[in-house]
Amino acid sequence: MPDVCSRWLIDPLVTYRRLGEQVVAFHAGSGDTHLLSPVSGAILDVLSSAVDGSGGCSVADLLADEQLVSADASEAGVTDALVALAETEIVRVASEGE
């Protein structure tokens, strides 16, 4: 598992949309559709709003973001959500932490 310094990006083949309180995501490569938790949705919002060329966001970046602060997300919760998102190839590691 990547450490907390890893930087994360949304896979470019992924589209996600909010439906009510939930988030649904589609991966054009696998053809799979996923139902995501509100924390996962907030993570995707933060990753998608990251400046192009920034190399993605670390867990620390995510935890500092207002959306995740207001979602009351813990470091463990964000890490678990990232791992789950990575397993379904919705996000990927841009660079490993040092």
Binding site: T15, R17, L19, G20, E21, Q22, V24, F26, T33, L35
Partner: protein, 308 residues
Amino acid sequence: MRVADVSVGELHARLRGPGVTLVTGRFRNRITSAMRPVAEGIAALYPDFPLELDGGFADFHVALDRPAGLRRWYRPQVLFLFDGRSVFKPLPRHQAYPMLEWGLNWCVTTQVNHFLLFHAAVVARAGHALVMPGEPGAGKSTLCAALVTAGWRLLSDELAMVDLDTGELHGLGRPVSLKNASIDVIRAFAPDAFVSEPCHDTLKGTVAHLRPPAGSVQDVTRPARPAWLVFPHFEAGAATALIPEPPERAFFRLVNNSFNYSALGTVAFDRTVDLVAQSGCHDLTYSRLEEAVAGLDTLASRVARPAH
């Protein structure tokens, strides 16, 4: 020209010769058949549909024909041909007309990818569409027939066709397929509606078709905006219950009723999300048709003004 403008005899003569083009919404179906029940069925169930006797472009070229060999005479059968190729197992010849209806559905579900397709009945009121997805036996066609005879506009009893650019729903307007007990249920519910003679012993049991109202046929090319997404479920003896369905659950139920979601990819995902987001989503359990129609009428009355 409309189907009603030609006699059954002339229609039969055309069908057994060069064929006719029957226009059903966005699709042009070139049909040939030497079997008179096919002509009689089209004449009875499609009187208000555009008909073209000349050739020209057709989306689908279909034929209902007799197989070669002994089966022309012994326990005679019928074949459904698409582009001259048999695509189903032959059926007993008395099922020629239902086979045409099933075959035309097959043409759309297997050949069309410029619409996002769901297995769902669709009716509309004042430009707002009610989409009712469901597995066979869920009661969607029965409910669709009842709604249509109660004043809703028919788009389709089988296929929701979503425009990939606008998200609007397009119709076919074709006859509503009724099975088994639902045939008498609709005859009792709407005694003035035309229901064809039942065809017995098919793979689906006894089947008959409800003729679409002329107004639905005239407006068939007018799309409707999604407004309600209702998952009907007939349950004998159950009290009528129209319960809100969480949108994310409705989304996945809708995806599970799609014919080409996977083939279309991201655009299908976006249009499906749009459809759910624009619709009031409900689960409907019913046993009494009158109550179900009244419940959906009430739901529809909450929309203040027409979409078009």
